[in-house]
Amino acid sequence: MEDRFIKLVRLAVQAVSLVLAVCALMTIGLIYFQVFYQPSHFEFGETKQLGVVTSIDDVKDGVHLPTGLKVDVNFELVVTNCTGCHSAKLITQNRANADGWSNIITWMQETQNLWDLGEDKSLIVDYLSKNYAPEQQSRRKPLANVEWYELED
């Protein structure tokens, strides 16, 4: 009778230990996944996920300082899809309307290995044509941003 009781206790202890061990392993696995997860090396069927760490400190006056891009709807789509091959400076220095940006994207897809953007293309074009639209210009603008200085001989 006493033997059976000890056996039962041992079994219970073993079962609890097993559960704890599994929990511990899962925790380690979860931590490993969180810390070492490299999104660009994972593929989920048709899509691939990318993560870029940034913080609120990176934004000033509506501009994301690391890229220079304006923070607006679909900003993150532009970062993810556009800045892999070229600098964001190629975006921020250019101006075009929706047709113009769409043509540039099409050209990149046809000749520069830009991937199919699916429905994201129109969202990206929306962002670009809103935030980087042509400005009114004369045939020669007045000289701007002149930094005046005393000319010495």
Binding site: L50, V52, S55, R139, K141, Y149
Partner: protein, 407 residues
């Protein structure tokens, strides 16, 4: 996956999340080394030995321009030379193992040369050659043209030393149907795709056979800096600088116009006939840019000079005209109502820019714009307004001007 994107969008706007991320549709087509580019840690001053305040238009690929006053030297030093790249700078350049292959359908005999062969088996030539980006001045076109928005500083005139292209072409021998040459360089395509060329342009045979067309291995008496094409660069002065291929590994002799990357479409091509601003131009109506047009810059003083009334102001700069020579140089301080003729030097050699200077007396206190205008040997002068619009914004040779105040 859509919901994830929506979530991120919302939180990005609300509080700026710690992770910006989204799904890339058809992401399995991506290259393994794809990493979203955020920061390029390098600045061109430390990375390439450039003067500090040059303008970085792009850092992947690197495109950096000089300000007009940087370009005051008659021979442009490496530290003030603009950078125009289409792809990524080659990282594993070993001059001891570097070879140049000359082949193509119109060579009599394909050959491979080592750098040592080029330096020892052929007579070296040295020329000062003007290299200007075809898109220099693009930033002024309206409607805007896409690409790097160059101001005035995508031009240089360094002293290049190397083998005459003609001597190499004679060495391999040409078939009677040869009409064009093309280059291939070691730079990588931005996407990382090894099967794609960043750029592979060229020139007609007549240009390749000119005395001044070099396969250069030196710039200003030293090895060419890596960023400017070390160890071997094709230099075709007076033409869009894209014809002067960097990191050259291979030259092809063609029996037709070279059809490499950026030889077609809107690249380095102009509407054959003038078009209205913003017009769509079909491929067959575009013509390859050859000689660059007449142009000049004021390199001294820097724009923004405040001078005392009664003092004369000495101005100087450079003028160039592609395949032609600059015949006259003028300056105006009254928005083109009157022009004063400047002194003008002869070029150091054909295809080198020329130096001009003038002393002027401004009539009274106030704000002035000083406009410089060059005229070439065919009588073509620089326009004061931005010239004909074109889809990619090439060949803006409008007069350069600076602001000056007399107090």
């Amino acid at each position: 996956m859509t919901s994830r994107r929506r979530f991120i969008t919302r939180s990005a706007l609300a509080s700026l999340v710690a992770v910006i991320g989204t799904d890339i549709v058809f992401g399995k087509n991506l290259f393994e080394d794809y990493v979203p580019l955020f920061l390029d840690q390098q600045d061109p001053a430390s990375a390439f030995g450039k003067v500090k305040d040059m303008i970085v238009l792009n850092d992947r690929p690197w495109n950096v321009e000089a300000l007009a006053h940087h370009l005051d030297d008659a021979v442009t030093p490496a530290s003030k030379m603009f950078i125009r790249n289409n792809g990524l700078i080659p990282t594993d350049v070993d001059p001891a193992k570097w070879t140049l292959t000359i082949d193509g359908e119109s060579v009599a005999q394909s050959k491979i040369y080592t750098l040592q062969d080029l330096k020892t088996k052929f007579k070296p030539s040295t020329y000062q050659l003007t290299l200007e980006c075809g898109g220099n001045g693009r930033g002024e076109f309206n409607p805007p043209a896409s690409g790097n928005q160059w101001g005035v500083g995508a031009v240089s005139c360094a002293r290049w030393t190397g083998v005459r292209m003609r001597d190499l072409l004679n060495d391999v021998g040409l078939k009677s149907d040869a009409v064009y040459i093309g280059y291939y360089g070691a730079d990588l395509h931005l996407s990382g795709d090894l099967n794609k060329d960043s750029i592979s342009r060229g020139v007609p045979l007549a240009k390749a056979l000119q005395d001044e067309t070099l396969l250069a291995y030196q710039m200003n008496g030293e090895d060419i800096p890596l960023i400017h094409g070390f160890p071997l660069r094709l230099v075709a002065g007076g033409w869009p600088a894209s014809a002067s291929g960097k990191w050259v590994k291979r030259i092809v002799v063609r029996n037709k116009i070279h059809d490499g990357e950026k030889m077609g479409g809107d690249s380095y091509r102009m509407p054959c006939k003038p078009v209205a601003p913003g017009a769509e131009v079909s491929d067959e109506d575009m013509c390859i840019i050859e000689s660059m047009p007449v142009k000049s810059i004021i390199t001294y003083p820097k724009s923004g000079a405040i001078i005392n009334g009664g003092k004369k102001l000495a101005l100087r700069g450079h003028a160039w005209a592609g395949e032609l020579e600059v015949k006259e140089m003028h300056l105006s301080f009254d928005f083109g109502a009157t022009w004063k003729q400047c002194r003008l030097t002869s070029p150091a050699n054909r295809l080198a820019w020329q130096q001009w200077d003038i002393d002027i007396q401004l009539p009274q206190m106030g704000y002035y714009e000083l406009w410089a205008r060059a005229t070439d040997s065919m009588g073509n002068a620089q326009p004061m307004v931005v010239p004909g619009w074109n889809p990619k914004g090439y060949l803006n040779n409008a007069c350069h001007r600076i602001a000056v105040k007399v107090v």
